[in-house]
Every structure is written in C-alpha cells, then in structure tokens.
C-alpha cells in the first residue's frame, strides 16, 4: 500500500475510486458521470447543496444503493457491492447523520451490537465486552464508562461511540454524513482530534457537511458537487470558503458574511403576544422566562440539549410544564394539546422534517393539513387545496413546482419549505421555528430567511430556536441564550457577534 504517513497528494494509488458513475431513481437522474478518488490516509471533504448528489455518491460507496452505472474500485480491484454489510466486509463503514444507536442499551452493547463476544456456553461475555469497548473508546482518546446507558450521553459522545462501532468492524474507509451538525464547538474539536488520530493510522475519511468552516478545517482535499455532477476536487490549502461556495452554487458568492454578526433591534414598545414566566418541565427546563412580541423575531441560542427543543414543545402544547405560567395576550393559557395551541394561533415547525411531513402523501395534502378546518367545513375541496399549495410553491420557490407528487421525492430543503408553507396560508399569531435552516443549501436558506422576515414584517411574533449562531444572528431582532435549561443571557439591542453568543452559552 502507498505511503500512509503523508497527507493526501498526487501519485498514490487510490484506496477507492469511482469512475463515470451515474445513478437514477426512476426517471430522475441523481448522479451523472461522477469520478471520485479517495487516497489512503486522507480526510476528504464533500460539499454541495442539498440534492447535489453527495449523499447518493456516499450511499453507492457504502453499498446502500447497489444499482448504478459505472465502476467502483477498491485498491485497484473492481468491486460490486451488494449490501451495506458487503461494504463493511470491504472495510467501508458509514456513520449516518441520524444516529443508529440504541439509547436503552449500554455503551459497550452499542459498540458490539450484533457482535457481542460470547463465553464458552454461548452467554454474552460481559467482562470481555466491557473491557474491549473501553479499550476501543480509549483508542479514540475518550474516557467513557462502557456500562453507562447510551441515552444518558450527550449526542456528541453518542456519535463517537457509533464511530467506534464502525471502527470495531475494521473499517478503513469511514464515511461521516454531517457529523458536526448536532455538536457543540467543544464536541466538534473532540471529534476532529479523533479524526486526525484515525488519519494518522492510515484510515481514510469522507467528511460530508454543510458546515464549510468545519470541512475546510479538517479535510486535506475537498470535492464539490452540483446538480448531480462533480464540479471539482481540490486540495484544501488552495481553497477559500468563498471559492467553495462559488463552486457549490455556480454563481458569484454574495452575502456570505451574513450571520457572523448582527445589529439587534429589539423594541420594548411592541406588544407582547406570548410570554412564558419561570417555566419548568421538571427535567430540561428550569425557570425559563421569555417574551415574544408582535413583529419581532426572538432568537433562542444554545448548544444541543440545552433545552430549546423542550421549550418549543411546551409552548406548542406538545410537552407538559410542571411550573410557571404561559400567557397569550396577557391571559393565562395552558395548552393540553397541539390542536388547542393551533386553535389559539400558535404554529410550530420542528427541527426534524420527518416529524411534521407525510412523505408518501402529495405535496398539496402536506400543505393543507393544518388549514383543512379553515378551507373545508366538512367536504374536502381538493381544487382549493391545490390552488393554495400552488401559490405557496410559487412564493417559496419549491422545486419541482408540482402539487401532486409525493413529498418524499422532494429534496430536503424543499421539504423544509413545505413544512413552513403549512402555516403560511392563514397567518399565525405566533410562529415557533426550531432549526429553520438546518441542513439546507445556501439558496434554500436564503428563501427561508426571506420568508421568515416577511412574516415578521406582517406582525407575527416569531420564536427561532437554533444551535447555529449564524441562524440566530441572521434572523433575530433580540436574542436569548440558554444554557443547561436556564436563561444565561439576553440581548435586546446593539451589535453582537458570534463570539458573544458562544461566550454566553
């Protein structure tokens, strides 16, 4: 095998090589004539807008998509993978964005899931399993008790445990799909340390991410995808963020410094629509107070797991509150169900698209579900529904612009726009958005930002919760930073920077 100690460069035999790979789903071309090489001991960044083809490429490499045109070679030998398990036997492992850990099992059980070491009589050898899991995790530079339950660990550590599972299975090619999207900055640093260690061992890592700073920080080479084609593969040292963006979107980069800082315009004269006073849920929220004003976007920033999700759920009547009071227009309310919250004019878009979309149903039914009672008394009027959906599709630039195709055939960013469109037909009084732009490409992000701001200008009180400082700084008129379930700091006016948020959280 080629020299491993060196950073990626020319002249080495690739560990993995895709030549002229194309893939279509039904009549839809997802990938066209893609060439891709992965060298031994390199971290290779993979970027592109949603639907550009990076996930499809990786699913081909990981044996998820087995039916494609073109060739795939591992160490010069052509292979044809038949399944994800087959990929693993060729030393290819993937850590998906949505973790596949079992929260109720212990860390060791998760590491050895399906491969538990057995004693002579066929029982699980707990001692050996815990010992080996600890060693394996320690080899990543981590110190985790293998007997703790997975669910009690922070997401960042869960992800590393899942990574160790892939390593345990002997993977030399490791594909990481959006590994940093759920991680706090210290967790990202920890992950990167682990990745550098793995690179030093000669393993190759494909790092797929929307977080360009992370990609540029960790990878040796970067490949950019656009519209199902590979645009360029280049050494990271020769790239800047602006250049990468230009390749990604295929047009001149603009507004790229948006989200680094913001001028807050909180106005106490505006009327409070929804307020929470010292609310607690007994677990993740403690004495949180927040006021949402008409025509203002209130941003709530905090690391993953600091309580934003719980706050949003509680305000929408999805999760119960133990203590504290919620007031709508000054009158105390207690929503027993999401239906009650919606009837009072509160709308909610959760962070996970799957939580609020019907993938098998056509787009128009997804849009109309939350307004059915307004447009129909009893009998459905599909034509009205489609007309409404069409107007949203036009406003939000949803692609493809068709109302009758299943939602699942849209790309992630477009699905997110549909999730937002649900609440736009009849303006809500309060709109709660959890991670409104997470995982979206640049273009879709700008569309969403534009829509949210126009809603604010129409007088909607908006709450934006995010773990991305850029999202908060781009959108918010005032900011509340929460840390471990309590309000850490509030900013109402003046200039703030990303660093201010990070320091406060």
């Amino acid at each position: 095998m080629a020299d491993q100690s060196h950073r990626a460069g020319g002249g080495q035999q690739p560990l993995l090589e895709l030549s002229n790979v194309s893939k279509h789903f039904g009549g839809v071309m997802a990938l066209q004539n893609v060439d891709f090489t992965l060298l031994p001991g390199e971290i290779h960044g993979l970027v592109g807008e949603n639907g550009a083809g990076k996930s499809t490429t990786m699913k081909i490499i990981a044996g998820v998509h087995t039916d494609f045109d073109g060739t795939m070679k591992i160490e010069g030998r052509e292979v044809r993978l038949r399944s994800a398990g087959d990929a693993l036997s060729h030393s290819i492992g993937m850590v998906h964005q949505e973790l596949s850990v079992v929260p109720d099992l212990t860390v060791a059980e998760n590491v050895f899931l399906g491969n538990q070491p057995l004693t002579a009589i066929g029982a699980i050898d707990w001692g050996r399993m815990n010992r080996e899991a600890k060693q394996l995790i320690a080899s990543l530079g981590l110190d985790i008790d293998p007997t703790t339950t997975m669910g009690s660990l922070p997401v960042g550590l869960q992800q590393l445990v899942e990574l160790s599972r892939v390593l345990f299975s002997g993977a030399r090619i490791i594909i990481l799909d959006e590994p940093t999207s759920a991680l706090s900055p210290p967790e990202v640093r920890q992950l990167f340390e682990v990745l550098r260690r793995l690179r030093a061992e000669g393993r190759s890592i494909v790092f797929i991410s929307h977080f360009l700073d992370d990609v540029l920080d960790i990878s040796g080479r970067v490949t950019v995808f656009r519209n199902g084609r590979k645009v360029i593969t280049e050494e990271t040292a020769k790239l800047t963020k602006d250049m990468v963006i230009a390749h990604m979107i295929g047009r001149g980069s603009r507004g790229m410094h948006m989200g680094e800082e913001a001028e807050l315009k909180g106005d106490d004269a505006k009327p409070v629509v929804l307020s929470a006073a010292r609310v607690s849920d007994g677990r993740n929220l403690r004495d949180v107070s927040i006021e949402l004003r008409a025509g203002e976007i209130t941003g709530v920033y905090g690391f993953m797991g600091s309580g934003q999700i719980e706050l949003a759920r509680a305000l929408f009547g999805k999760a119960p509150l133990r203590r504290g009071s919620v007031r709508l227009d000054g009158k105390p309310v207690r929503f027993k169900s999401t239906a009650a919250a919606r009837a009072s004019g509160i709308a909610f878009v959760p962070e996970n698209r799957r939580m609020m979309l019907f993938r098998q149903e056509p787009v128009y039914k997804n849009v109309s579900i939350s307004i059915l009672d307004r447009i129909h008394r009893m009998w459905l009027k599909p034509r009205t529904e489609k007309r409404i959906a069409e107007s949203h599709i036009k406003d939000l630039q949803i692609r493809p612009p068709r109302t009758a195709i299943p939602l699942g055939s849209l790309s992630g960013g477009n699905q997110q726009k549909v999730a937002l469109a649900k609440w736009l037909t009849h303006l809500p009084r309060v709109l709660i958005l959890s991670e409104p732009t997470r995982g979206m490409d640049v273009g879709a992000k700008e569309d969403v930002i534009r829509i949210v701001k126009s809603l604010r200008d129409k007088g909607v009180a908006i709450l934006v919760l995010s773990t991305e400082p850029e999202t908060i700084l781009t959108l918010a008129d005032r900011v509340t930073v929460i840390r471990k379930g309590t309000v850490a700091r509030e900013f109402a006016t003046g200039r703030i920077e990303k660093a201010d948020l990070l320091a406060a959280a």
Binding site: A30, G51, M356, E361, K365, I369, L372, R377, L380, G408
Partner: protein, 356 residues
C-alpha cells in the same frame, strides 16, 4: 434528488407504478384468479344464485369491516369487533319479549327502546375502548383484547347459556327481510322467477358507501389517513390525534354493534360465541383488500375487494371436492399470502419515496 430542478414531468415508469399500486392490484388479481379457478373447478359456482349467495353471506362481515377499515387506516387494531357484535345482538334480544320456552330473565321493552339501548351499549363499548387508548394510553391490541373479554362476559351474563329468538321488528326486517325482488322472467314451467335482494345486503352497501364517502371526501377522512400516515406529523400539524383515534374506535364499535343486531336476526337466534368467526373474517377482509397494517393507505374500495376474495374462497371451497378440514388451512394460507403482499407493498412504497 437532483433533476428535481427541472420542471419537466417525470417520465412514466412501470416499476414505480407497480410499487405504488401493488396493494391495489394484487387483491384484484387474486379475486379474478379465484373466480376463474372455481368456475372451472365447479359447475355450480358461477351461477347467479351462487353469486348472490356470496354477497349475502358477506353482508354482516361487510358492516364490521367498514368500521375496522377506519381503525386499521389509523394503524390501530380492534380485536373486539366480533365480541361487541355478539353482545349488542344479545342486548337487543334481551330487551325484546321472548317466546315462553326461552328461559331468560329478560326485560321486554318496546322495540325502538330496545334498539336504542342496544346502540347505546355499542357506543359504551366504543367509548371505553377510546378512553383506555387515548387517556390511559393502552395500546389498541391489548385494550381491545380486554374489551373482547368484557363483551363476551356481557353476552354470557345476559343469556346465561340460553338462546333468544325474538327481536324488534325493525331488526328482524333489516337482518332477515327481503328488500325487493328482481324479476328474471318466466321459467320453463311458466312460473315467474325472482331474485330476492335481502335488507342486509342493502344495509351493508349503505355502510360501505357512507364509509367510502367519509374517508375519501371529508375532512375527517383526510385526518384519518394523515394520522395513519404519520401520527407525529399530524400532531405537529395541530390535528387532534387523540380525538381521531378515539372516534374511529367508537365508529368501529357502532358498526360492530349494528352488524351484531342484524346478525342475530340473520341467524335467527341470539346466543354466545355465535360471531366468533367474524373477527378473523373482518380483519382478513380489510387486510386482504390491501389496506396497510401500518396505516394511511387503502380504503373502502380495498375492503370491498377483500370481502369478495374472502367470500369467494369461503363459498368456492364448498363447491369443490375438498377435505372440509383442509379448508381451514387453505384460508390461513391465503391470509398469510395477503399479509406478505401487504407488508411488501409498504416496503416497496417506502423505497420509492426514499429518493436520496
């Protein structure tokens, strides 16, 4: 999905169409194949009389299956349908004056009161199930298993091993009466021939029609499909999921209860355990028809096909020379095949929706 950027209509794909429609196509093919098979295997099968016979035999099951379709569309199940039917059928007889030789300590009341009481008992069964599922949070499988036992208990207590024979006139008419006859001309002996159409068939068709209209064309029906398709998403869209789940259980109990009332009249007697086969038949009809066990897919159209498949199998096996004990096994195998198709259709569908 990349070429989503282009607005060009997606090219027609046979594979996609089949994946989409497998759950609808497979039952129809099964039905056609069975009819063809039995027509060749037996001379007495494909006659007008026998076709009508099949439909008549299906009518009580059909009414139960309508309610069950609602339940299964929300990805729940109701195992108490047959027991509730039995209990409600017995209730209506309990409140009707019985002949002297019937030794039941019953409470004779005017017919319409007996009917209302029976309907209220069906409502009560449904409400208890709905309460247990939505407020307490008991899974439908277990909750309706308990309700099955409770309804059987009510039946046992009311009749105490006896058999009742009298029902209110309306029930007797709808359950056993002839609605109208279709003249068929005159036979060789010069006698006029008629096909009698029984009231149970009419009632069943009304239930199927109303069920279809509600599921397809009303807001409530849409909510049922959406709750079945993705319960969490429905909740985040502000749909009152508990209400939908609870109400389908009540609808199902009401359908079962009405089927039970017509059923006792249809059988000519009301006694314990006489509906036992209806549980499997009704579930089989819905599932064989292609309504997804995972919810959100299917409908009354599927249930009609499922009912016909079931009716043709049950009836057709009587028309060919076959070990009557083997029939039970054959029915089981057909149900298994339908389950495989049902689950496989779901997997295919999800694969198709999973474009990147």
């Amino acid at each position: 999905m990349t070429t989503a950027e282009s607005a060009a209509p997606r090219s027609f794909s046979v594979k996609r169409f089949l994946a989409d429609q497998l759950r609808n196509i497979a039952p129809v093919f099964t039905l056609v194949a069975l009819v063809v098979f039995f027509s060749f295997a037996s001379t007495s099968f494909l006659t007008l009389d026998n076709m009508l016979n099949i439909v008549r035999q299906l009518s009580i099951t059909g009414i139960i299956a309508v309610g069950l379709t609602f339940v299964i569309l929300t990805a729940e199940i109701d195992l108490s349908v047959a027991a509730v039917a039995n209990a409600v059928g017995i209730t209506v007889a309990y409140f009707t004056i019985q002949p002297d030789y019937v030794n039941i300590a019953n409470i004779p009341l005017p017919g319409w009161i007996a009917i209302i009481l029976a309907l209220l008992s069906a409502l009560a069964f449904g409400l208890v199930t709905a309460f247990g599922m939505t407020f307490i949070g008991i899974p439908s499988f277990i909750m309706t298993l308990a309700m099955m036992q409770i309804a059987n208990g009510v039946s046992a207590l009311l009749v105490r091993g006896q058999i009742a024979y009298q029902y209110p006139d309306l029930v007797t008419t709808l359950g056993a009466g002839t609605a109208f006859s279709i003249p068929l001309g005159v036979n060789a002996a010069g006698k006029a021939m008629f096909i009698p159409i029984g009231w149970p068939i009419i009632v069943c068709m009304v239930f199927l029609l109303v069920g279809h209209l509600v599921l397809t064309y009303t807001r409530y029906g849409r909510y049922i499909y959406m709750v079945g398709g993705n319960r969490e998403a429905a909740e985040y869209s502000g749909v009152n999921v508990k209400f939908i789940i609870g109400s389908v259980m009540v609808i199902c109990a009401m359908c079962s209860g009405i089927a039970g009332m017509l059923g006792v009249a249809y059988f000519g007697s009301a006694q314990q355990n006489q509906f036992d086969t209806f549980l499997l038949d009704a579930i089989a009809a819905v599932v064989v028809g292609g309504t997804s066990l995972f919810g959100g897919r299917g409908g009354i159209g599927n249930t009609i096909i499922g009912l016909l498949v079931l009716g043709v199998v049950n009836n057709g096996l009587d028309h060919i020379q076959i070990d009557s004990f083997l029939k039970i096994l054959i029915r089981g195998l057909i149900l298994l095949a339908a389950l495989i198709i049902n689950v496989y259709a779901q997997v295919l569908k999800e694969k198709q929706a999973d474009l990147d």
